[in-house]
Structure formats: structure tokens, C-alpha cells
């Protein structure tokens, strides 16, 4: 099979990324502001009011312990939400066909949307970080690790959002996964606590939650402590990255949920 000319793919990729980031900026009240407000409330209620009574967690002030988890939580929900709503909107209104009839490869369509999700995830993460600084100090221990975990996690959840959008047939279908799977996994993924507090059974069960590895990997990068070894965290993130990337490509290439 003849390949797609590189120039077409690069221009196409730039076009998708530009379109997706413009969308995030155009509807910033929906895309950027709500997570910032939600996270501020978490800091005020759980960090400032309740956190004082909790005391130290993992050797850190509770607010400092919780901050990386909240930043990661906002990145996960924003990157997922961006791609699932953008891609499903395009599919539902039919303008996804603009890309499907064009000579863009499936990888470019995936990468373009993933980059859009990452941009929104990082934008929200940056704002939540700024909000964090109003409540506590952050002394980043391993900036490269923190950044790498953040980017890779945003990519994983952007692709998860795309898979959800491909299978979704109505708007209800894009609300089910975030409400019934993503939110519980995030809340049980060590955002608010260390798994060392859990009974052995629940601590062991938590190891099957991929978000635990992402939150702890990022926490290691920010404050230098983690329930999970950083190697395991990267391994799990990369496994999901490859798994979701291959799934996305297969679905788009075969047209499952998009054609017929």
C-alpha cells in the first residue's frame, strides 16, 4: 500500500492541533474555568478546613500531599473530557467526515486530537498549580519525571476519551464512563490518601487501578514520595499508552463506530 505523503500529514496534523486548541480557547469558560473552581474548593474544604485536623500524610503536610493528586486529577478529567466531547461532537454532527474523506492517516487524526487533549490538560494543570500556590508551597523534587508523567498520562486519557467517543452513539454514552469508571478510579487512585493507610486487601486491590500509578508517579516527581516505584509507574503508563494507541488506530482504520 502506498503511504501518505509526509507533507500532507504534517500540515494536516498542524491543522487538527490548531483547530482543537482554538476550540479550547474559544470556550474557555467551559474548558478551563470549571476545573480551576472545583480544585480551589477541594483545597479550601479538604486541604484547609479538614486537612488541618488530618495532620501529616506520608510525612508531608496534608495540603502538600494532596496537591499533586489534585493537579493530576484535573489533568486526567480535562484531557479525557476534551477529546471525548470534541471527537463525539464531530462524529455526531457529521463533520468528522471532513477528516475521514481526506488523505489524512489514522495516526494523524489520533495524534492531532491527543495533542488537543494534552494542551487542555496541561492548561488546566497549570491553572490548578497556580491555585495550589495560594494554599501551599510546592518544591518540585524531580521536574522531568513530574512533567513526563503528566504528559504521558494526559496522552493516555486523551486516547481513552477518543475510544469512548468512537463507541458512543448518543450524548449519554460519553457521560457514563467518566461518571461510573473514571471518577471512582480517580478518587480511589491515591489522590487523597496513601495506600499504606488501607488494609492489606484494599491496598493490594488498589494495585490494579492504573490511576494509582499515575498519581503516585506525579507525586514522586513533585514531593519525592510515592506508594509505587517510579519504574512501575512508568511501565504501567506506557503499557496503557501503547494499548490505547493501537486500539484507537484499529478502530479508525477499520471504521468501527465511524463508518457504515
Amino acid at each position: 500500500m502506498s503511504g501518505a505523503p509526509l507533507k500532507i500529514q504534517l500540515v494536516g496534523l498542524y491543522t487538527i492541533v490548531r483547530k482543537e486548541t482554538s476550540r479550547v480557547a474559544r470556550i474557555w469558560v467551559q474548558t478551563i474555568v470549571p476545573p480551576a473552581i472545583t480544585m480551589s474548593l477541594y483545597f479550601v474544604i479538604f486541604g484547609n478546613l479538614i486537612g488541618r485536623r488530618i495532620g501529616d500524610m506520608g510525612g508531608f503536610d496534608y495540603m502538600q500531599f494532596m496537591a499533586p493528586g489534585l493537579i493530576m486529577m484535573s489533568v486526567i478529567t480535562s484531557s479525557y473530557g476534551n477529546v471525548v466531547s470534541s471527537f463525539f461532537g464531530a462524529k455526531f454532527q457529521g463533520y468528522l467526515q471532513e477528516m475521514l474523506v481526506s488523505p489524512l492517516s489514522g495516526w494523524v487524526i489520533i495524534l492531532g486530537h491527543v495533542m488537543g487533549g494534552v494542551v487542555r490538560g496541561l492548561a488546566v494543570g497549570a491553572i490548578v498549580t497556580v491555585v495550589t500556590l495560594f494554599f501551599t508551597e510546592i518544591d518540585v523534587k524531580h521536574p522531568f519525571i513530574a512533567f513526563a508523567v503528566l504528559i504521558l498520562t494526559a496522552m493516555v486519557f486523551s486516547m481513552a476519551g477518543m475510544i469512548n467517543a468512537i463507541f458512543a452513539r448518543k450524548f449519554d454514552d460519553i457521560a457514563i464512563i467518566p461518571a461510573f469508571i473514571l471518577a471512582p478510579l480517580t478518587y480511589l487512585g491515591g489522590v487523597f490518601y496513601t495506600t499504606s493507610l488501607l488494609p492489606d486487601f484494599w491496598a493490594g486491590l488498589s494495585k490494579f487501578n492504573p490511576i494509582l500509578y499515575m498519581v503516585n508517579g506525579f507525586r514522586y516527581g513533585i514531593i519525592g514520595v510515592s506508594d509505587i516505584s517510579i519504574g512501575s509507574a512508568f511501565a504501567v503508563i506506557l503499557i496503557f499508552l501503547v494499548l490505547f494507541a493501537v486500539t484507537c488506530y484499529y478502530l479508525i482504520h477499520k471504521g468501527i463506530g465511524l463508518r457504515d
Partner: protein, 315 residues
């Protein structure tokens, strides 16, 4: 000179997952530079055929080549040759007209500086330049259709496929769109058109295929197809009213009203003979028109004949 085939379809079949056989083995060739009509009743398989050509529908079997590029082995080159205007409005209604066309250019690999020139040219040609900054949702139905044509043409496709492009468009805009389509066809773009307005097909297209029940039931030059009509029905407006239809040798005449007659003129019969007979009886005619569009008559005959045979079969 042997012209290249803009589109070559061989043994194309499509069976949907629910078991519906939309296409039952279609063979179709469209020459480069042609203005080709693909007609058929609702559910005949037109949109499925177009969907497969434009990679929006998976085929079950068969082979499609666009300017020699196989959709199976050389899909990116094939796709680059095609521009499509779908039946349904399929654009982001919250984007500006300018962005919609610019983005489409980007998807075909046209750099932004060059895309801006193409976009302006297309929007000006389709009289949308003044509305370039407006969101698409603010446009009228006709403007949205024109915007979809601009979007389809921005990468200068060699093959333009229009699936009922003038549906719901008023007569004035429809005729201006016809003029525009004729112009781009004369400039070398091959055009495939599906339409329910048979006058549109007769006015614009040189070749025609009629598809019914997933099969091509007619495929020829427009002029050859129209010659196959064995008769035409004319409506004559009379100067003076008549109580009953006159009996004219060799012509079937029916009275529609006191001042209107319907006359069947068969192949080989002359309208001069008809008027001679009317003159002999002192019947003066003020005006005359075809009862139906000629292509429409043939279309109905072909598809009705099919229906009749289906009714008579075991299906």
C-alpha cells in the same frame, strides 16, 4: 484520444450488518472531464455508492479506482483526487465559514498561506466572502450548501462528487449553482451528481446511470437515453374552448379541460402533422409545453418496470 477514467467501479457490492443488500454488483465507468448523473429512487444505493467511493462506508466486495488509484492499495492518492459535497449538512456550525474551508484545505496538506488564497477564491466564487467571519449556523440553507461546495473544492479536486447539492435550494440559487458547476466542469473537473431534480441532470450532465435496487438499470449518454423515449406528452393551450377532445388520426388526444388538450406524440410522428390536423379542424393553439420532463418520464418508466417485475417475482 483515449481519456483516463476518473472513476472505475467493478463488481461493487455492499451488504449492511442488518442484512440489507444495498449494492448488488455495480460496474460503472466515468471518464475524465465528464459531467455524470447518478440517478435512482430513494434507497436505490446512490448514497451508499458515494459513501464507498469517499471512504465513509466499507464495501463488502468489488474494486474502485479513482484516476487509476485503487481505494484498496493507494487510498491516500485516491482520496486526494476527490472532493465531496454530501447530502446532509455536515459542518461544525459553530465555526466560521472561513475556518471551515481553511481547515479542509489543511486536511489535504495545503499550507496555510496557500490555503488562505484558495479559501478566499472559493468563498468569493460562491458569494460567501462577505459572510466569511459568520458562524455557519447563521447561514441560510442555500448558503450552507454553497459553503459545502466551497469546502469540497478548496483543494482543487480532479473529481467532484455532489450528492443532491441543490436539495432545498430556491430556483434562483439553484440556477446560479448550475452555472458555477458548468464552469468548473469546463475547466476540467470531473463531476458526478446525484439529484432528485431530473431537470438538473438533463440540463447539466452528458452521461447518466440509473441505479435501482442496488443495480445499474441504465447507463448511457444522456442524448442516447432520451432518444429511447418512445413518446412524449404535450399539453396544448387552446385559443377557443372545446366541448370534447377531437379525434385526430394516429394521435392520442385527451381533454384536460375546456381549453387544454393532452396529445401523445410517438417516436417517428411529426408535430407538424399534429398541427396540420388541428388546423384542418379549425383548432387554434396559443401555446404548447411538455407535460413532464423527458428524463423524468424515462426514469419513472425504468424504475416502475422494475417495481412491477419485483412484485411479480418471489420476493
Amino acid at each position: 484520444m483515449c481519456r483516463m477514467k476518473a472513476l472505475a467501479i467493478n463488481s461493487l457490492t455492499k451488504t449492511y450488518p442488518n442484512g440489507i443488500r444495498a449494492l448488488r454488483g455495480i460496474d460503472l465507468d466515468v471518464e475524465e472531464g465528464d459531467f455524470f448523473a447518478l440517478l435512482g429512487p430513494n434507497g436505490a444505493g446512490k448514497t451508499t455508492t458515494i459513501g464507498i467511493i469517499t471512504s465513509l462506508v466499507n464495501k463488502t466486495a468489488g474494486d474502485i479506482r479513482v484516476f487509476g488509484h485503487s481505494l484498496d492499495n493507494d487510498i491516500y492518492a485516491a482520496k486526494a483526487c476527490i472532493g465531496v459535497v454530501p447530502q446532509e449538512i455536515n459542518m461544525n456550525l459553530y465555526e466560521s465559514c472561513y475556518d471551515i474551508v481553511m481547515n479542509q484545505a489543511g486536511y489535504y496538506g495545503i499550507p496555510r498561506s496557500q490555503a488562505a488564497v484558495h479559501t478566499e477564491a472559493m468563498l468569493r466564487q460562491l458569494q460567501l466572502w462577505d459572510r466569511r467571519d459568520d458562524q455557519a449556523r447563521g447561514l441560510s440553507g442555500g448558503m450552507k450548501r454553497r459553503l459545502m461546495i466551497a469546502r469540497a473544492l478548496v483543494h482543487s479536486p480532479k473529481l467532484l462528487i455532489l450528492d443532491e447539492p441543490t436539495a432545498g435550494v430556491d430556483i434562483e440559487i439553484r440556477r446560479s449553482m448550475w452555472g458555477f458547476l458548468k464552469e468548473i466542469n469546463e475547466q476540467g473537473t470531473t463531476i458526478i451528481l446525484t439529484t432528485h431534480y431530473l431537470e438538473e441532470a438533463e440540463t447539466l450532465c452528458r452521461n447518466i446511470a440509473i441505479i435501482d435496487d442496488g443495480r445499474i438499470v441504465e447507463n448511457d449518454r444522456m442524448s442516447a437515453i432520451l432518444r429511447k423515449l418512445h413518446q412524449e406528452v404535450f399539453v396544448l393551450d387552446l385559443v377557443n374552448p372545446l366541448d370534447a377532445a377531437p379525434v385526430l388520426a394516429d394521435f392520442k388526444v385527451r381533454s384536460v379541460s375546456e381549453s387544454e388538450l393532452e396529445v401523445e406524440v410517438g417516436k417517428g410522428q411529426s408535430i407538424n402533422d399534429l398541427f396540420s390536423l388541428l388546423n384542418e379542424r379549425g383548432i387554434a393553439v396559443s401555446s404548447m409545453r411538455n407535460k413532464t420532463n423527458r428524463l423524468e418520464e424515462l426514469f419513472i418508466r425504468l424504475t416502475q418496470r422494475k417495481d412491477a417485475s419485483i412484485e411479480g417475482s418471489d420476493r
